[in-house]
Amino acid sequence: MNASTQRTSLIVGSISIPVLIAVGIFFFIAGNKPADSTIATEPTAVPTIRVAVTSTPVAVVTAVATATPATTAAPTATAAGVATATPTPTATAQSSTYTDGTYTANTSYSVPRETNTLAVTLTVKNDIITAASATHTGFGESQGYHSSFDSSLKGTVVGKSLASFTASRIGSASLTSAAFNKALTSIKTQAGA
């Protein structure tokens, strides 16, 4: 984070207020390149879990299972790899779409000069992924992207209408308050607007 400060004068009405304004620049990036990483499934006869580890090589995992976890974010494209999935359900099947349990998919993929391996574990309960983790082995260039993948997933948001939700079921930042509006009015008055 780079920060530089400058002193400026703020004129509000007839009052002059010296204000120290700090200009901070936050770098809000986890890693040098965005590592598009998603875990997604498709409800087909042979369910697949696509796991993108770096921005180029992508491992495609074929899950051999009676149930697969629910989908989360948008999948990314490309490449191929070799994978096997070993589901190890720890709970008995229920009336939900997917069987509760913990699933692990193992995959390996080739990048120039090396082979990386990845094991993804997902825990499903009541059709919701409640936990996810990834462990990997790899060297060199991929290492930085691996640590990005471990701690965070990235992508672009897509907006859809809120109309179908009741207000009590919407998570949002607080709506502008009466006090806030009062403060705004006061500032406008002081500023002679």
Binding site: M1, A3, L10, I11, V12, I21, A22, V23, G24, F26, F28, A30, A70, T71, T72, A73, A74, N126, I128, I129, T130, A131, A132, S133, A134, D150, S151, S152, L153, K154, G155, T156, V157, V158, G159, K160, S161, L162, A163, F165, A167, S168, R169, I170, G171, S172, A173, S174, L175, T176, S177, A178, A179, F180, K182, A183, S186, I187, Q190, A191
Partner: protein, 284 residues
């Protein structure tokens, strides 16, 4: 099923009982009004405003001491990312009526509290805005449970805590596009808190400001558009939601562990970063 809506802490609240038990509305409103009268920075007679002005309070109520101790604890847990003395800075920038103040890094030595007296040395002006709503939500959660309501949803201005036996689907409001959602999240219990600078922003002498102040720079930070955080308690979710907006990416893991939190962050370009454990489903 019963539901109620009311205004508190300057925003709209909703309560839902998901089972047959009715909501103890009178007890809830009493609790909320008492809390607001005691801790609002905008009420000159509140305990908080009095402390900020007089710098001393004798025979403080136990809850006030608890809140002050939480201020210091949260500041320490977040390595100064969260700081109750931003109240003074908000006043500087026009969002408040009391004295000007600056961020204090040494609040732990300036603020002393005991059952007989609370003292605030230095010039810091305190504000509970960064966690007060979460604290009140948790307080109402206890209240509902005490009154026999077994399944409920509390929504305080968009911060939600719930207790259910079946998953409840919540929408995640798009921080950049009004009336839109970026996805949903289903919870059976626990809290979801959301923070965004855009909801309370203003211009002062041609400069844009908003209500989330970075203690490190003493001004409105400028990077992220919004954060969504899930955690067991509303207090932790509320505090973490603010901290994630202010933190560098290197601190995310530590913040997650500290608050048992999962996160979804959205920047001004519509790019998101989410923890692998964040259970939300985003639209694509």
């Amino acid at each position: 099923m019963h539901s109620q809506t009311f205004d508190a802490l300057g925003t709209r609240w909703w309560l839902e009982s998901l089972s047959t038990e009715p909501l103890p509305l009178e007890a809830v409103l009493l609790s909320v009004t008492t809390f607001e009268n005691a801790y609002s920075r905008f009420k000159p007679d509140s305990l908080l405003s009095t402390l900020n002005r007089e710098r001393i309070i004798h025979n403080p109520p136990a809850e006030f001491c608890e809140l002050l101790e939480l201020c210091l604890s949260l500041q320490e847990r977040t390595h100064g990312l969260w700081n109750a003395s931003v109240g003074g800075v908000l006043n500087n920038l026009g969002y408040g009526q009391s004295a000007a103040g600056s961020v204090s890094e040494t609040l732990a030595s300036e603020l002393t509290s005991s059952p007989s007296v609370v003292q605030l040395a230095g010039t810091a002006q305190l504000d509970f805005g960064g966690f007060g709503k979460g604290y009140l939500i948790d307080k109402l959660a206890d209240l509902l449970t005490e009154h026999g309501v077994s399944e409920w949803i509390i929504n305080g201005g968009g911060d939600i805590r719930l207790q259910s036996t079946t998953p409840i689907e919540l929408a995640l409001e798009h921080p950049l596009q009004e009336g839109m959602s970026v996805g949903t999240i289903s919870l059976i219990s626990g809290s979801l808190a959301c923070s965004a600078p855009s909801k309370r922003s203003w211009k002062n002498d041609g400069q844009s400001h908003h209500h989330i102040i970075s203690p490190k720079t003493g001004s409105s930070f400028t990077s992220a558009a919004g954060s969504f955080v899930t955690a067991p308690t509303a207090l932790d979710a509320d505090c973490a939601a603010t901290c994630f907006l202010l933190a560098d990416a290197e601190s995310y893991k530590q913040l997650s562990q500290e608050f048992t939190a999962e996160y979804l962050l959205i920047n001004n370009d519509g790019q998101f970063t989410r923890s692998t454990g964040f259970a939300g489903a985003l639209f694509s």
